[in-house]
Symmetry: C2
Subunit: 243 residues, 2 copies
Amino acid sequence: MSISKNQLKLITSLSQKKYRQKHNLFIAEGVKVVNELLNSSFEVATIFCVDDFEINLPVEKIVRILDTDLKKISNLKTPNKVLGIFKIPEEKQLNKSGFTIALDTVNDPGNLGTIIRLCDWFGVTQLVCSKDTVDCYNAKVVQASMGSLTRIAIHYLDLKNYLSETNLPTFIADMDGENVYKTTLPKEGILVMGNEANGVSENVRNVVKHKISIPRFGETKETESLNVATATAILLSEFKRSI
Amino acid sequence: MSISKNQLKLITSLSQKKYRQKHNLFIAEGVKVVNELLNSSFEVATIFCVDDFEINLPVEKIVRILDTDLKKISNLKTPNKVLGIFKIPEEKQLNKSGFTIALDTVNDPGNLGTIIRLCDWFGVTQLVCSKDTVDCYNAKVVQASMGSLTRIAIHYLDLKNYLSETNLPTFIADMDGENVYKTTLPKEGILVMGNEANGVSENVRNVVKHKISIPRFGETKETESLNVATATAILLSEFKRSI
């Protein structure tokens, strides 16, 4: 079989957020990620795969294609046997207790994917994002999250409102904050991480109660601040190690 | 002025490790990174920049170029005013005491760059890499390290020999290792981090004494292991917080 013109048009369109939202569909690639999605609660629309990809699905959902066709539709440098179109699941209900990570305008898909993996590792089941944070169904986020996407409830909302209304303790990483290694951290709360270049925006910063910092051990003041994903890793580890 | 054919050929060739080693030169781009290198002990060869880039260097080292020329020679999506050619400094003498990070076959330039920044932040002044780890003068490593490259002594060597000969305690991250949160960590030592897909290779693993692990808090066993840069962030934070 081969890919129809309409299918090709659909796949191409799904690289844009507005078409993902219009069709309620997104793309995942590669054996590992596609299999994780197939084994999750996510619903599959269509799977495009080469002959030696083993799959157990109703035949009408499978399109067997040639390597050369896969190369045409793939976003990967080295396409790996399969590209799947999946349905974007409905947003779960917002959980108002527990521990939540909140992201303010994180732009880099690799950073969001890494943070989703970190949440999964550390048992954080809810991630809240400002509306202008990169879309979690962006193909690069889906690849970087390595299947963790299926286990984390992700919400896009007005971050300032969300933080104003919560009863949980709220934290941001801030150079002038209290040394995180010397702070007693609660089991429940919201940790807000900011944009790659500008940190947490002022109107969000104003509604967050606690400022914490990762102390700099290096002697030079010129050291660039930590990358948002590595800072999230360190802070999440601090919250969880103390439980 | 414009770029000569020979200059263009040199710049293009420096994207390959063998030519960087042959000429002992590497490339850095963008206002921030180039300025950090200019203000360091690194020696500049030539700076190609647009008219409004302010620079204080002997005139023979500066080539003023047009935006369109910068686009031609740049590796960045959005070229930023300047591309510099710098001399690769001589390797410093290996420090046999203190705290060192050692990398076994880390392939991804972004991961190496992030780890160099982490070393700088946490005051680790020496990084040791297996000979097949990605070259630290690779353009993407230079960009991701954000100037921290100038403050860390990086050595490429036979990792197995290095670890066999040291008197310092040696550590690797291993799923079966001791919970890092419950381990007393020394002030001096060597922490070995492994390849993105395969972890630490067996012949290196065999000469490392202590195994430590970052416990998984999430319930699902399917969670992909942590990315090497985020795992390094968490472990480095654990070594340093206890000092």
